[in-house]
């Protein structure tokens, strides 16, 4: 760890519901002070439960949760230095915007003039100036989202927890809010712990990401690492698009496909292990013949089986015979060669782009 204290650290945290449901399974996690940290995973992977254990809305069955080095134990949510932006916003319908935002400060018994000043600042920060007297029900989804954010931020918590806060918004608004959230985080310098099932959102916003699968932490690191070097098939498949080919490790640094082709790839398992060769569609290039393709890289023979037009890119499904099929994504730039179904092609890719993974 670096010399800054961890904002949140989880050690061996397990949460069971009843006898046989394990929501979170032995998770170790250190979230640095001031970072934008995302917990990414499909629904039911335990990310929200993990967040709720940091908030104090659930308590771990085993393990410890520390915030700025302090053991939280069974401390109730009102006594923890964290605030949450809930998935459904959970705005108080019987209070107006200003009263919603002021709630935490009033509970802390901060004096009125200070409350008014800070509520005003928070409302300005989320760009809701002038809407103080509105009822939350009279606001749009995006505005409600901002109120929820202001209501949490106004308390200047040590850590801000966000549970899929953009989930209910439409795509355009989501993209704007993503950037805005990132800006706000930079401005206030508070540690953000952001739960999402949207890998794009996690990649663009986070300093570091923890990918969760079935209660376990599958991988943990900066977005680039997660995308470029997935450590297992789950992460490879969940984050971004990935082609899969089954193969066997032939020697360190190379695998043999079912059709017999030898392919250079990043391997970590011993020779003879059955693996899945994974490669991202955008890391592949297509050539008409082997002589056109760059030398010293992987080259696979195949034929175009399907062509899909996406606008900014084209995707070809290439049949590799016995080895299976693979998707190739080509950016739609001028002068790019268009292939048709049935064309014979050579797929070219760098050995570094191919990763042999096991379950």
């Amino acid at each position: 760890m670096n010399n800054r204290a961890a904002a949140v650290s989880l050690h061996g945290v397990t949460k069971r519901f009843g006898e046989d449901v394990v929501a979170v399974d032995d998770v170790d996690l250190e979230i640095r002070d001031g970072e934008f940290f995302s917990l990414l995973g499909p629904s039911g992977c335990g990310k929200t439960t993990t967040l709720r254990m940091i908030a104090g809305l659930e308590f771990p069955t085993e393990g410890s949760v520390r915030i700025h080095g302090e053991e939280m134990g069974l401390r109730s949510p009102d006594k923890r230095p964290v605030n949450t932006v809930f998935q459904s916003y959970a705005l108080f319908p019987h209070m107006n915007v200003a009263d919603n935002v002021a709630f935490g400060l009033k509970m802390k018994k901060i004096d009125d003039s200070e409350v008014r000043r800070r509520v005003g600042e928070a409302i300005d920060l989320v760009r809701l100036t002038g809407l103080d007297d509105r009822s939350p029900n009279a606001l749009s989804g995006g505005q409600q989202q901002r109120v929820a954010l202001a209501r949490a931020l106004v308390n200047q918590p040590a850590v801000l927890l966000l549970d899929e806060p953009l989930g209910a918004l439409d795509l355009k608004l989501r993209q704007t809010m993503q950037l805005e959230l990132k800006d706000i985080q930079n401005e206030v310098g508070i540690t953000f712990v952001y739960v999402t099932h949207d890998q794009g959102e996690a990649l663009t916003m986070s300093d570091r990401i923890g990918v969760m699968d079935e209660g376990r932490l599958a991988q943990f690191g900066p977005p680039e690492d997660i995308y470029e070097s997935p450590q297992n098939l789950f992460v490879a498949g969940f984050v971004g698009q990935m082609c899969h080919l089954s193969a066997v490790v032939a020697e360190p640094g190379s695998v043999r496909l079912k059709g017999g082709e030898l392919v250079g790839a990043r391997t970590t398992t011993p020779n003879g292990t059955g693996v899945t060769l994974t490669v991202r569609p955008e890391k592949l290039s297509l050539y008409a013949s082997a002589s056109e393709a760059p030398q010293g890289r992987n080259a696979l023979k195949g034929s175009i089986a399907r062509r899909t037009f996406y606008g900014e890119s084209l995707e070809y499904e290439v049949q590799l015979g016995a080895s299976g099929s693979i998707e190739v994504r080509v950016e739609n730039i001028p002068s790019i060669r268009r292939w048709s179904v049935g064309d014979q092609v050579i797929i070219d890719f760098h050995p570094e782009a191919a990763i042999a993974l096991t379950e």
Binding site: L57, S76, D78, K79, F86, A90, F103, G104, M107
Partner: protein
């Protein structure tokens, strides 16, 4: 109509107002047909009887007590100021308010407890338990209380054993116990409905924003369950103000309430106009009180 005609002349208006109007008219006819049975029923069996009562309250009586629809007068209404009526009215009002408050105090934690059970099945079973008393006749249940509260009843025996109370039958406390027993479910059900549909993440949000458990209850749960409190209070207060069976069976002669007074006027005293005037007065008071209650509470719901 005028508004629609004006719209028709608006230039470049794409909608066809005639079509729109026809659709709206059809819609309102459909609504009327759906509601028609209820309209007819309520008109004949609710509005008309009320009007008859109102008319009778201005009528006069023959020597034998037969109501005569002639010599219209205000005598029955002026008699409402009689000290006896006032005593009974105050007693009824106190009883009804106390009953409402006590039902609320007992029902709220109970409804809260049911609404917070995790499993739907458990909640349903508990609700059925609340409704079980309705499966037997109210009169029978009130007579059962009479047995419990009589000299050799279990409650009396227990009270005498511990020296805490004696025979309660035919006293005000007996009526009170009977009223709370009878009207408690009417408080539990609307409270449960309000609490059950409450978004509990709001309470979590409150806790997250530094509210203690009791603070979160007062600032969030309580205000949000207000519709249930209002509905339950009205459902309990109104019938208990006019309660007749319970005070008649458990209260004996000494605990006369408004309900008993009205019955006496229509039966023993053979004074229909006076009975009608009391009924009419209660109705007016109740209407005004309910409207005020809704107004004050309704705004913040």
């Amino acid at each position: 109509m005028k508004l629609l005609d004006e719209r028709e002349t608006v230039e470049g208006q794409e909608v066809n107002p005639r079509l729109e109007r026809r659709a709206r008219r059809q819609e309102s006819w459909r609504g009327f047909f759906h509601a028609a049975p209820a309209y007819v029923y309520l008109t004949f069996f609710f509005v008309l009887p009320l009007l008859i009562i109102f008319v009778f309250s201005f009528a006069s009586r023959s020597n034998t007590g037969k109501p005569l629809l002639e010599n219209w007068n205000l005598d029955s209404w002026t008699r409402l100021a009689d000290p006896l009526v006032r005593t009974i009215a105050v007693r009824s009002l106190t009883m009804a308010i106390a009953n409402t408050v006590l039902c609320l105090l007992i029902a709220y934690p109970f409804a809260y407890w049911i609404a917070t059970r995790a499993r739907q099945r458990t909640r349903t079973l508990l609700l059925i338990a609340v409704l079980i008393p309705f499966w037997s006749n109210f009169l029978v249940r009130t007579y059962a209380w009479r047995m419990l509260l009589d000299s050799d009843g279990y409650i009396t025996q227990f009270g005498e054993l511990t020296g805490l109370w004696g025979r309660m039958l035919f006293t005000q406390p007996a009526v009170f116990i009977g009223l709370v027993y009878g009207y408690l479910p009417f408080m539990v059900l609307p409270l449960y409905a309000a609490l059950e549909r409450m978004d509990w993440s709001l309470v979590e949000a409150g806790r997250d924003l530094y509210a203690s458990g009791s603070k979160a209850f007062r600032k969030i749960t309580l205000p949000l369950s207000k519709p249930g409190i209002i509905a339950g209070s009205i459902l309990v207060f109104i019938p208990s103000l006019g309660a007749y069976v319970t005070p008649d069976i458990l209260g004996g002669a000494r605990t006369n309430l408004l309900g008993n007074l009205i019955v006496t006027q229509f039966q023993a005293a053979r004074n229909w106009p006076f009975g009608s005037a009391i009924s009419g007065a209660i109705l007016i008071v109740m209407l005004v009180a309910t409207m005020i209650y809704f107004r004050t509470g309704g705004r913040t719901i």
